[in-house]
Amino acid sequence: MFDFIIAGVQAPVFLLVFVGFTVGIVGGFIGVGGGYMVTPALIVFGFPGYMASGIDMTHIAGKGLVSTLRHRQLGNIDWTLAMSMVAGTMLGVELGVRVLVYFKKLGVAGVVLLVTSVVVMFSLFLYTQIETRRAHRQMRELVPDGKGVGREFQTSSLPKFFQSIPLSPIVRCRTARVVVSMWVIVLVGVVTGFLAGFLGVGGGFIRVPALVYLVGASTHIAVGTDLVEIVFSGGYGALRHSIEGHVDMMAVVFMISGALFGAQLGSIATAYVRGPAIRYVLSYSLILATLGSVMRLIYVATGQTVEWLSFAAVILTLGEMIFLCLFILSLLWFARQHRRGLWVPDWVKPLVIS
């Protein structure tokens, strides 16, 4: 146990490092900050809600920077796409926050937030899961040994529709190999920024599917490009929280010490897998986060009297991080096995790059 003087709580250091490490792997792999996992975990460890949010945002800024640098080395960042999105994202976040303030005045912000987050995350999970399973099935039929396919494979027809919108100016994103109207990118930024601002999250779990299914970027590019956005939003959030005194730097240091290794490992792992593998992990994280929100919603709706729901939420919060981390590490291990010509399960072959 370590005495965090600023936060006024005692918490186990090992768990902070552990959470930083696991969420670092997940964040580097699927391109999210992981606030929807870290903040509930910190609250479980005893940190007050506002402090949990501040510590989380500050650690996301540091971790996002490390992941971004690593993805830059891997060639996964399209700077044209990233910079085109930033303005729209900022506008969207501002709109989202204003709508949230409106609901706060009505006194229904808590329930509306939980219901919206459940609907958004479950919808994203459903679409990502259905599309990825279809892509996985087709890849297994086309190339049972998993060889001779590029690193991306997706079956959605939405990108073709959005890329065919003839509104000037048309932008050529060279790294992403996408030619699309600037307005589509800005609109994606505004919508994802709105949801992020309204739900009070970084928005990576919304932006990555949006970049893949609306703009038409490959999953790897979507992950790297989204991390650039996270550095901006996380950095700004960290600054604001620091000014407000919501950050215990000792907690941040412990979390970052784990996250630095995790973020690099997660980012490097993307070089061993194909797009559908990343989308699978993203969809699992969405459904597990949805279940967590549903439990909190029921807990609130029952007047916070059902104790086992609180316990289940704790187990789900921790179990989710461990599950995603183990799944990513398993894929990495299978990919190495496959490269050496050793046995791997058939379902893994189309997901890893041999």
Partner: protein, 52 residues
């Protein structure tokens, strides 16, 4: 059959529960979920039970 081939057969054609779980995606998920929530339970019991 050579020793190397023996080893290969042993690692690919087993019918144990572990192999069944590994060979199906659903089975692999269930295996990982069980391990993850088990570990989460252990963490809860050791570090968090008194704090919440």
């Amino acid at each position: 059959m050579m020793a190397g081939e023996d080893r290969k057969v042993a690692t690919t054609e087993g019918k144990g529960l572990g192999k069944v779980l590994l060979n199906s995606m659903w089975g692999f998920w269930l295996l990982l979920l069980a391990i993850s929530f088990g570990l989460a339970g252990v963490i809860y019991v050791i570090w968090l039970r008194g704090n919440i």
